[in-house]
Symmetry: C2
Subunit: 468 residues, 2 copies
């Protein structure tokens, strides 16, 4: 059942964060939240996955300071213009006023690049690929929302690379896109990859590629961005290298990041009216074993349940021995999204079998005891595939090809996202916004068509939808 | 050789952080530093170890916000008195002044406890044991030093527990001490466990237990603390629970923490004049394989080196194929502290053997090719044991029993730490300080003796030494 999930998504989402003990939203600073242990374990598994992907692609993890001196922060003019309204400033240490104001990083270009300028000397130091996972801060004036728009972004994974040529930087943009594809595919999060319009790119970038997903309420959520910085920052921060021919040249840079929003999407897209459905890949518990006790045979059932847990120890498995009715336990683990439940009672023992119950479909599967481990592995894989497939279908069902302005209006009005031929001009974007209430959020390559506003021929589709 | 290590420790330490690429100290905010990738991997391995120990002891990881509103921070009077001189304050968001000033956490009691008050309702919610690993901030006015005294403490692991009785909290203090013992033993870091004098305990605590180690320059370094908070904070933050009899009672709390100083000790205590000697437990690379090339047999050597790396894949192993002389490679990995080097050349292949070289002793060991994996495992264990043993001996050699004030003076003058019978009074501590330049840093239980100042009978030894 996904009625409430679909029709009252906002309430559903807030409710799950609370009931599944993901976050506590009662912390007394607006827009900042507490990760509870169960949520923290999901976060830890997601981070493990992205670290693995980045490490395999030749990145190294580092860690830069949080505090950025005002003079460094202000160096890149477009960059500061893009962030100055939302930067937190530390002005006092103890009882004294600081000589130099310190920004809490909203992102780390201006913290990292003065140091990269020291690390990079020659073409032999390139390419350089580092990343860090840190908390970053934005004084958001829009409505804050847990994991989606926060004043303390608790999980900001930002990668920064430097290259000896524009071509190599361009290739790295593709590598980054591939890393994120792999990451989102593993999490079963569907995405649209597009290029941001000029006026919406990262402050200081040449261009920005973005991953968006669509939430059940039809709103786009940006879940990753990849920026080609060209030589914009390297000129400002004097990041130069000696070429093999002995010339000094400015490095070519890229940067790309993801945040807590990935976890928001993971939780939001795979749920239903009974709660979360976690991807087996990152679920803190993949299997929960519930013993079905009958008075005189409790010991026998417990012994068998323990044997099952031992046998399933290659999975993240938990034996629930609390003094509660089985139904209460089912409910408890269902809303927390545990992918697979194993029930074991006297009758199962007699028949040398075990009952599996899938969280995603509710399907009950009777398995021969001897085939248990294999079947659990198969079912977990199948659940991952099914969740991924369902999420992609759901997203596709909210994407509408629009051939005219009215189609865009209609799509947005029906909580969908329109894909419309668009010439790329700001003027036509403004006309679209005047009609639909929102402008073009991203641009994709597509079959030739005619701009829905001016009729000029174009090979681009604009993505038009409400967004978070 | 440990001459320079011992006699110019301060320079030695700064040099290793740079040469082994642990930290970059050139970040333009005093007292904050950049973790470079190699250093970051040591840090990651240390964190993995402490997480494992805490998880096994029933703690759960969580994550609380960095920003603490002034009104919460100021609630516990002694606590704020202890920290107010070194708290950073955020006063502005964007261009506007904030209505409520926000402290950057110097430690998280005042961030966590309002929330624990919501989580804890009944005795069934207790004990509650959580921890987090975060960055914390102190506006240090003393001389800052990488990993030892920093304005951004990048690796602050703080655990917080709540209990239904004073006895249970007391037991938890012992559990925490045991966790840290295990942790420091695994890292080969020797320690002295003592109780801090009343005037030096954690602001707001009933009492504080501390772990100190001694650096090669004879200075004490506090590397962990465990605090019994009694009901001091629970009264302030209204953390109450319903007893089985239906009464409301304030919870009994403890908290305990470690920081980057653990990594400082790990690097400082196991080094020598050639650089770092990393404990195999946390070394980013445990084994480096260096092929010894002879022109005509390079391919053969490379094949064998690759086979060795495959065979050693259960360790953290690296094959160094750079176009450099073997000597340059030895030097490179020695200063980075890789515990074991494998050399493989044509003669080794002929003799079906491999040469191992230990970083700690420089010993060369010839091993039959067929016994390689077993021998590597044995040697890594032996290196860990040897480093631990050497560090304990070194620390013990700097501890002096002192029977009189002059003995203390002499010990401290000779860059050692004195253990002296002390009655516990502030007066006698002041006399000790007047003579030796430093007062009592910690108190241990010991055989009966007479206070070096007043002559009163006492079962306590005061620890007196210069400290960081």
């Amino acid at each position: 059942m996904r009625d409430r999930w679909r029709n009252s998504f906002s309430e559903w989402y807030a409710e799950q964060l609370d009931r599944a003990e993901i976050l506590d939203v009662r912390y007394p600073v607006k827009g900042t939240y507490v990760w509870r242990p169960y949520g923290f374990r999901i976060r830890a598994n997601v981070l493990k996955l992205i670290r693995q992907i980045l490490d395999e692609a030749g990145h190294e993890e580092a860690l830069f300071p949080l505090l950025i001196p005002e003079h460094e922060f202000a160096k890149e003019a477009r960059h500061i213009a893009g962030f100055e309204d939302e930067v937190y400033w530390v002005t006092h240490g103890g009882r004294s006023e600081l000589g130099v104001k310190l920004a809490l990083r909203p992102t780390s270009e201006t913290a990292m690049y003065p140091i990269l300028a020291l690390w990079i000397r020659s073409h032999a130091d390139l390419p350089l690929k580092i990343y860090q996972v840190v908390n970053t801060f934005r004084y958001e004036t829009k409505h804050t929302r847990p994991l989606i728009r926060m004043r303390e972004i608790t999980t900001f994974k930002e990668a920064h690379t430097a290259h000896a040529s524009a071509e190599d930087a361009e290739r790295q943009v593709q590598v980054a896109v591939e890393c994120y594809r792999r990451f989102f595919d593993a999490l079963g999060i569907p995405y649209i990859i597009s290029r941001r319009p000029e006026w919406d790119k990262f402050p200081g970038a040449e261009y920005t590629i973005a991953f968006d997903t669509i939430f059940p309420d039809g709103r786009l959520l940006q879940i990753a961005t990849v920026h080609n910085l060209g030589q914009n920052f390297s000129r400002t921060f004097e990041i130069t290298f000696e070429t093999p021919e002995g010339r000094q040249e400015y490095a070519y840079q890229t940067c790309y990041g993801i945040s807590d929003r990935v976890i928001a999407a993971l939780l939001a897209l795979h749920g239903d009216d009974s709660g979360l459905c976690l991807m087996p890949e990152v679920a803190p518990l993949q299997v929960v074993v519930v013993p079905i006790w009958f008075k005189e045979r409790k010991e026998e059932v417990d012994r068998e349940a323990e044997a099952i847990v031992r046998e399933l120890s290659c999975f993240r498995v938990h034996l629930d021995t609390r003094e509660l009715r089985p139904g209460a336990k089912y409910y408890h683990w269902e809303l927390r999204g545990v992918p697979l439940r194993v029930e074991i009672g006297p009758r199962d023992i007699e028949n040398r079998q075990v009952t599996l119950v899938r969280r995603d479909t509710g399907e009950r599967i009777t398995v021969a005891r001897s085939a248990l481990r294999q079947e659990v592995e198969r079912q977990l894989r199948s659940i991952g595939d099914a969740l991924r497939e369902r999420a992609w279908q759901e997203m596709r069902s909210m994407l509408r090809e629009a051939g005219a302005l009215e189609d865009i209006e209609k799509a947005v009005g029906e909580r969908c996202v329109a894909l419309a031929p668009w010439c790329g001009s700001k003027e036509c974007d403004e006309t679209i916004e005047a009609h639909a209430g929102v402008g073009v959020g991203g641009v994709m390559e597509a079959e030739p068509g005619r701009c829905v506003v001016c009729g000029r021929s174009t090979k681009h589709r604009g993505i038009v939808g409400r967004s978070y």
